[in-house]
Symmetry: C2
Amino acid sequence: MDRVRAGRMRKRAFDDARVAAYGQRMTTQAPYELYYWPTIQGRGEPIRLAFEETGTPYVDVARKPEGEGGGTAAIMQFIKGDQPGLIPLAPPFLRHGELVIAQTANILQYLAPRLGLVPEDEASRVRANQLMLTIMDMIVETHDVHHPIGTSLYYDDQKDAAMRVAPLFLRERLPKFLGYFERLLSRDGHLVSPALSYVDLAAFQLIEGLRYAFPKSMFAFEPRVPLLSALHTHVAGRPRIAAYLASPRRVRFNERGIFRNYPELDVAPDPDVRF
Amino acid sequence: MDRVRAGRMRKRAFDDARVAAYGQRMTTQAPYELYYWPTIQGRGEPIRLAFEETGTPYVDVARKPEGEGGGTAAIMQFIKGDQPGLIPLAPPFLRHGELVIAQTANILQYLAPRLGLVPEDEASRVRANQLMLTIMDMIVETHDVHHPIGTSLYYDDQKDAAMRVAPLFLRERLPKFLGYFERLLSRDGHLVSPALSYVDLAAFQLIEGLRYAFPKSMFAFEPRVPLLSALHTHVAGRPRIAAYLASPRRVRFNERGIFRNYPELDVAPDPDVRF
């Protein structure tokens, strides 16, 4: 075999590898199918916000009637392993072509470059993922305020413990997390520069949820994080987000989700306490 | 050119492309500097295992004496923002050249392709990240068994609540998570095919920690997850891991970390209960 032919062969194999890799990425003719509990915002909402902000068509599968392949039955088929692809432990998960992807931060990391919600360079993506994971940590802690003993118990069966958790959460954890994001916003008002990213959308959702769950405490605390408040206002006013929030597609907050309004847990810290 | 040779040629070109891609990523000769609390395994250990398994030189900065730039003072400089790079909320974080990267799963996602601990293709990486995040969820839940009320309180001040959490955790959450990983291992004994990945190392660490924290319960439960037990045995026996575990570099388990041996919490479920 001559060198030219070997070179051509090598190039073709290289191109084949590239095309194969590209093909794996570009399943874009397939619809985006989101699977999440149909009656709560929860861990699914940051994903819905990413689709809505970018005007990306998606199917919120479990919100369709069971007769049309929706409902929680659609979710359970995947959990039980009755559908192809990697079995998820729990929703949310996204089906896109042959891929089934679980974990909110993982789904958003997959979607963001495709939706233009994160810069191209590795440093920005690493930063975005780090902050998204930190937001998810905060969301878990917020959930655990009302369910400190076990997710399988009713709130009323662990209310005594929840009332011990709440003041610690509001006095220590809330300022720690929100103060951290505030500090990072000082650069240019976005959590990942220079434009709006999926992390900003998730931060908006975190503030939304905290305001719903702890209105008195957030009223007292938010003046300490003005940049984060401003980011919330900015996201809420973006045309597609504003339209989404006013639409029936936005599930209302309720006492079945992560952010629950139990007034007895909203023990606003003393305003003289330095956060 | 015969088919065997063409195939070999194609493989070599493909390997060349991989090496080229690797070169593009390797923008720095900088050392890998890990920052994590020096006296516990905690969320830093899956990262240490990745370095150790691959024989990759790294500096475990905070384990050096303060006089040599180590100790927790080294960590605090970053948390306070006295060092360049993205400020971390908490350790572990990795400094590599100009990048400062926090969050265990994020650090490992950054390291794994560089260390050869994850396949190249996107589907495998998405899978690896999903499973790593699920392991981290389990690690948080395991921590919260002994600290259900607040991280700022001593164990003794929340022992009553912990004793309510433990049986629920052992009866419901442990089988849910470990049963999930067991199911995924049925393909070929690795959590991400076809070779050992960073997720397998993290799963090993999870089993290690659970055995330390809940020896009676794990003794009763592990026969239900034989593939996961076998993965643990396999990882423990890999030469570099075995050498690491026997070395003073491996911090010993203790009652300051995530996995704590409090016998009163190790309430082995009834062996007749079907997990």
